[in-house]
Amino acid sequence: MAAPVAIAVERRLKSGRADVKGVAFHALLLLSLLITLGILFTLVYEVVQTGFGVLTDRGSDFLTSTLSANPANAGVWQGLKGSFFIALFVIVFAFPVGIGAAIYLEEYASDTRVTRFININIRNLAGVPSVVYGLLGLAIFVKYLGGLTGGRSVMAGGLTLAVLVLPIVIITAAEALRAVPSGLREAGFGVGATRWEVVRSHVLPYAAPGILTGTVLSLARALGEAAPLILVGAISRGFFATSGGGLIDELQGKFTAMPMIVYGWASNPDVDFREGLASAAIIVLLAVILTANGAAILLRNRYERQR
């Protein structure tokens, strides 16, 4: 008796219509991914192909030469110096302030209107276009504080980028602090520690990898920005001589940075600059930034697995 019923049921269970929509959709998804990745590869390939020749020809000379009107002599040394100083300013000014603000918002502040206002404010600042930060830098660091910074100088540029990156540091640090399980804090309070002691010896060590990842990513972001530097007066066209003076003169004098050099050369009517040299500069810039991003991602993965 079972057999005929079974056959009928089996027929129904296997009679499914082919999943045409499903297969087509899956294909569409893969196609779009292919396109996106293809764009990435094309970009990298273009840049490497055009710029590699310059790098192999010039070698480290490319890294140690200054800007020049002559493509055969031009190098990115001043850009490397400028980016280095900018990184310093970001680290010195944005990281402590940003992490401190995050600690306040996550560990000390109660949920008042003031706190909520500060949080909204930070989220809005994170969405402000970088060129507007350039305007801020121009108005405050170049003009208003010109005596201190030396006007259109790397100090002004570094401070501007520190301000730009600050909201991102705060947000990522706050996220890292929020991820700390509350049990950890409660254990600390349970043995009678003060809030600062709990933060310092329990919360911060746990959140450190996340905070570190966030700061490295912020730094990578700062090193790639050009728009604010344009407004603050970084040199992109032509060339300039670095003053022979000491560190302060350096910080207060004319400057440039890696992204600015790329911008200047990419816009240069001379094809040697526009293609070969710009690509080579991009390779150097990408090497720095992708290393930083890669390190941050590896850090994050390693610590996430450890949990």
């Binding site: 079972a2 049921v9 269970l13 296997k14």
Partner: protein, 284 residues
């Protein structure tokens, strides 16, 4: 039974239901033989053999971790969704092998529906929740009628008939679960699998759903997993008791079926000591 008769029964089961079905002597819907379920190399439950009869409520009871839900999810191939899940043994549905490689899980699930532990209505309107299944299954017919009929059968129509277009998320827990039942019935399945359907609900909502189960038993075959012994005793016709066994070497526990009998029999005169311990030792 001739071929024609059995064909007709399947036809009836798949399309329009006879509003006053003749209750025939119970025939078997599922035959489970030596079923084991593995997650990777870990055997979660072993050697389960039960028969589920038509138009009955079969309950799976036992302590937590004994594999009742795992076994339940085998009946509608929901374990397929877990990459590392593997099934050994055989489940047959009206004699056909449910796990035959050519069987489409989608076809299985349209005939064997499921209600989950925590009510999970879609964040859509009440109407769209109920209509989702039929639309996806390509069921033609007056959708308004199907929705109304399903909501009536789930004892929810009167409460929501004036706000069908409002969001399902605005309903209470008990109402949401009845909505999930309506949603599952809307595709006109033969079987309803219920995974601890009342565990997230208050006692009043629980009682309503237990009443509902008795009402709809005539149209559907129900398998219910419950950690509430008294619920099983109140509601079911047959009960399967599961427990766990410790695996010495790997320090894991594997679920195992201890006893399966008519409910009154299992509760009043259990054959296995473990069953007796569970029934007498734990209340609720």
């Amino acid at each position: 039974m001739t071929l024609a008769d059995s064909e007709i029964r399947i036809e009836v089961a798949d399309r329009d239901r006879d509003p006053d079905p003749v209750i025939e002597p119970s025939s078997t819907v599922f035959e489970v033989a030596d079923l084991s379920v593995y997650y990777g190399s870990f055997r979660a439950v072993r050697d389960v053999s039960v028969n589920v009869a038509e138009h009955e409520i079969t309950a799976f009871i036992g302590p937590s971790g004994c594999g009742k839900t795992t076994v339940l999810r085998c009946f509608n191939r929901m374990n397929d969704l877990i990459d590392i899940a593997r099934v050994e043994g055989r489940i047959s549905y009206h004699g056909a092998d449910l796990y035959d490689p050519a069987v489409e899980p989608v076809e299985v699930r349209r005939r064997i529906g499921m209600v989950f532990q925590k009510p999970n209505p879609f964040p859509k309107s009440i109407y769209d929740n109920v209509a989702f299944g039929p639309k996806v299954a390509g069921i033609k017919g007056d959708m308004d009628d199907i929705v109304e009929q399903s909501l009536r059968r789930a004892a929810l129509w009167d409460e929501v008939k004036d706000r069908l277009r409002s969001s399902a998320m605005g309903l209470s827990g008990g109402q949401q679960q009845r909505l999930c039942i309506a949603r599952a019935i809307a595709v006109d399945p033969e079987v309803l699998l219920m995974d601890e359907p009342c565990s997230a609900l208050d006692p009043i909502a629980t009682a309503r759903i237990e009443d509902l189960m008795q009402e709809i038993k005539d149209r559907y075959t129900i398998i219910i997993v419950t950690h509430n012994m008294q619920q099983a005793a109140r509601v079911s016709d047959r009960t399967a008791f599961f427990t766990t066994e410790v695996n010495e070497e790997s320090d894991t526990r594997t679920g195992v079926l201890v006893e399966f009998d008519r409910t009154e029999q299992l509760f009043s005169n259990p054959a296995d000591k473990r069953t007796e311990n569970y029934i007498t030792g734990r209340f609720g």
